[in-house]
């Protein structure tokens, strides 16, 4: 080129080399990110100073100046300890049970523990993609577990199985007894298994029938072990529930139930059928336009006035329904955003292959839409998890409510009790939210594997 000729022909290809050392590793990071210009150097120093200002007193309060042992307020008084007192951890220790279970009867708390353990046992393998059997696992967690958890936590028995309740709805119920219960159960099992056999056996063989039989045997085992055919476990009224137990019940139910509601509303709103569309829009706009506090208040204090005299719904259930619908409306808009982000060509391609609306939606649209909106969905899950504290105003004592109740104990009135309590509960909320956030990042990366080239 430099010899004046316009032609250039490469004879040897340039091999790839590693990048210069100063641009990689720790040195490269410091140079390019933290100290690459006077302004950034100043910012870096400022940030370190700010971090120091925040972290030092926090560590001092939580760990160094903290009191770890003691049996009442005097242990956490400066006059007794001899230096300024940080966190008063004995307070948490003393009130721990109340923060976790609320006023759940002490001798029945094993039931709450068992529920926690069952949930963890079923949820953990569901969250790890490598573990097989997702279908059964999901069925156990989303279908079987809620029933088991209800009878574990709430107690009480079943008067009858399917037919008793059908008869009950028709006003023709019979006097319940153990024998009648099992007759009812057997009849239900026979009908359902026969139905499954009739529908599936021709195409899928014996497997669905076998599954149904196993499901009924398992149900029978659960019923026997919890004595649901008799009185069941000692009933514990939901008014006695409290603490972390209620926080988890409300938020997990809200999160799980809000998803199908959200998907249904989002599909309704993007539907071409006017009635569906208008209903969905009205529903979403109503629930989004009303503060959650109003919803809870209405559900708790106003709804009973409208319902016929002897017809009552448990206060906690009303709150659960309210939060689920509320969160569902929010999720609906997030999911609709995802649906709109799927290119039109996807529907056309699916249609051209002969897929029906529901198959297109279930196999093409939703899988892509939901992947797009994982960050938004987790955002609303986290918001919901923290919003559950609002149940406090309808006299349900969740984690924060139990904490407030614990503050009222004069035995533990010290200058730092308040800070200690909020630091502890804050930490619980943070761990929950941060966990969800990290897990969602993991899911995002896994599900979006197809976007990496």
């Amino acid at each position: 080129m430099s010899d004046g000729s316009p032609a250039f022909v490469r004879t040897a290809l340039v091999p790839s080399r590693p990048p210069p050392v100063v641009t990689t590793g720790l040195a490269g990071f410091l140079r390019t990110r933290l100290f690459n210009s006077p302004f950034n150097i100043a910012l870096t120093i400022l940030c370190f100073v700010l971090l120091g200002l925040v972290i030092t007193p926090t560590v001092k309060f939580m760990l160094i100046d903290a009191v770890w042992h003691g049996s009442d307020r005097t242990a956490c008084l400066e006059s007794r300890v001899g230096h300024p007192v940080g966190a008063c951890w004995p307070f948490i220790r003393a009130k721990f049970a109340q923060l976790i279970y609320g006023f759940y009867p002490e001798d029945q708390r094993w039931r709450a523990n068992l529920t926690f353990a069952l949930a963890a046992l079923l949820l953990a393998p569901l969250l790890v993609p490598r573990i097989p059997g997702k279908a059964i696992n999901a069925a156990l967690f989303f279908v079987a577990f809620p029933f088991v958890a209800f009878f574990l936590l709430h107690g009480g028995g079943l008067n009858g199985f399917l037919f008793y309740w059908l008869a009950n709805a028709a006003g023709q119920a019979w006097e319940p007894s153990v024998v009648r219960f099992w007759i009812d159960f057997g009849l239900t099992a026979a009908v359902v298994i026969a139905g499954v056999a009739w529908i599936f056996a021709r195409r899928e063989g014996l497997r669905p029938v076998l599954l149904a039989v196993v499901a009924f045997v398992a149900t029978a085992a659960v019923i026997l072990s919890m004595h649901l055919d008799r009185e069941g476990l000692q009933p514990v009224d939901t008014r006695q529930w409290g603490g972390l137990l209620v926080t988890l019940v409300v938020s997990v139910t809200g999160i799980v139930a809000s998803m199908p509601i959200g998907i249904a509303l989002a599909l309704g709103r993007t539907s071409k059928i006017p009635v569906l569309k208008i209903t969905s829009v009205a529903f979403i706009e109503f629930w989004r336009g009303v503060p959650l506090i109003t919803v809870l208040f209405f559900a708790t204090y106003m709804l009973p006035l409208f319902l016929p005299g002897d017809f009552t719904i448990d206060a906690l259930v009303r709150v659960l329904v309210g939060t689920a619908l509320f969160a569902g409306a929010y999720n609906a808009e997030v999911i609709r955003g995802g649906l709109l982000a799927v290119p039109r060509g996807q529907t056309e391609a699916a249609n051209a292959l002969g897929l029906s609306y529901w198959k297109t939606t279930g196999l093409i649209m939703l899988p892509q839409a939901l992947r797009h909106v994982i960050p938004g969905l987790v955002n609303s899950f986290i918001a919901l998890f923290k919003d559950t504290t609002l149940v406090l105003i309808v006299a349900i004592f969740d984690l924060l409510g139990s904490l407030r109740a614990a503050f009222a104990d004069p035995n533990w009135a010290t200058p730092t009790t308040l800070f200690t309590g909020f630091a502890f509960t804050g930490l619980i909320y943070w761990v929950g939210c941060f966990g969800m956030s990290r897990y969602s990042l993991f899911v995002e990366r896994r599900l979006n594997a197809h976007r990496q080239t």
């Binding site: 290119p343 060509g345 996807q346 056309e348 391609a349 699916a350 249609n351 051209a352 292959l353 002969g354 897929l355 029906s356 198959k359 196999l363 093409i364 899988p367 892509q368 992947r371 599900l447 594997a449 197809h450 976007r451 990496q452 080239t453």
Partner: protein, 246 residues
């Protein structure tokens, strides 16, 4: 050839709002016939073939595909779509599914074919478009030409009687046009009935039994490729050809 047409389009009229996009279109396509549709953009070529598998509705006229009547009400959409495969300009592969899953989805869910059998068939078609080695990849991980060939295999996996191609090479890099066109030529040699909307005149000359020229929503001229390119009859056709053949 048009004695027993597999596709019969009769006085088809379609409006987008006030805009009369297809005007009195008549076209018969015989079995094993290969039709190339060309014309300037906005002439209604794509709209025409999208009407054939009911991706677009139309207001007047009638389309009959292999004896299945598709009137303005589009009542038998699903039946028609099962017989007609479609390949799009922008591929429209399902990005969240692997190449193999793209090809087995419709056979499994529409034709209720067992998964294993569907996968065997799909692999057969992937071999036919020369990319069986990409079966486990996601569409985003392969080139445009390969994606379009997967799209062809996906359509073929449904065993369609007719294939529609809507500008299959327009979104491709020049280097990849040939591999896709070769695939379509292979298909033509095997006797597949097809309607191809394309600007590739060399392809039209080589493959088409008849070339249809459209402008302003109307069929201007239909002729064999030799006659069409050598002796265009209509003034508008001549003008069009002089623009694109230099």
């Amino acid at each position: 050839m048009a004695d027993d047409p597999i596709i019969r389009i009769q006085s088809l009229n379609k409006w987008f709002g006030q805009f009369h996009v297809l005007r009195d279109v008549n076209l018969n396509v015989g079995r094993r016939e290969r039709i190339v549709v060309c014309g300037p953009s906005g002439s209604g070529k794509s709209t025409l073939i999208r009407c054939v598998n009911a991706l677009e509705e139309f207001q007047e006229g009638e389309i009959v595909v292999d004896g299945i009547e598709l009137g303005p009400r589009l009542k038998r959409v699903d039946d028609v779509r099962r017989e007609v495969g479609m390949v799009f300009q922008s591929f429209n592969l399902f990005p969240h599914l692997t190449v193999l899953d793209n090809c087995t989805l419709a056979p499994i869910w529409v034709r209720n074919i067992p998964k294993k059998q569907a996968e065997e068939t799909a692999m057969k078609f992937l071999e036919r478009v020369h990319i069986p080695d990409k079966a486990g990849k996601y569409p985003g991980q392969i080139s445009g030409g390969q994606q379009q060939r997967v799209a062809i295999a996906r359509a073929l996996a449904m065993n369609p009687k007719v294939m529609l191609f809507d500008e299959p090479t327009s979104a491709l890099d020049p280097e990849m046009v040939k591999e896709v066109l070769d695939t379509i030529v292979d298909l033509a040699d095997d006797g597949m009935t097809m309607i191809v909307v394309t600007h590739e005149m060399g392809f039209a000359r080589e493959v088409a039994n008849r070339v249809v020229f459209m402008d302003a929503g109307q069929v201007i001229e239909i002729n064999t490729p030799d006659e069409f390119f050598a002796h265009p009859q209509n003034e508008r056709t001549r003008q069009f050809l002089s623009q694109i053949l230099r």
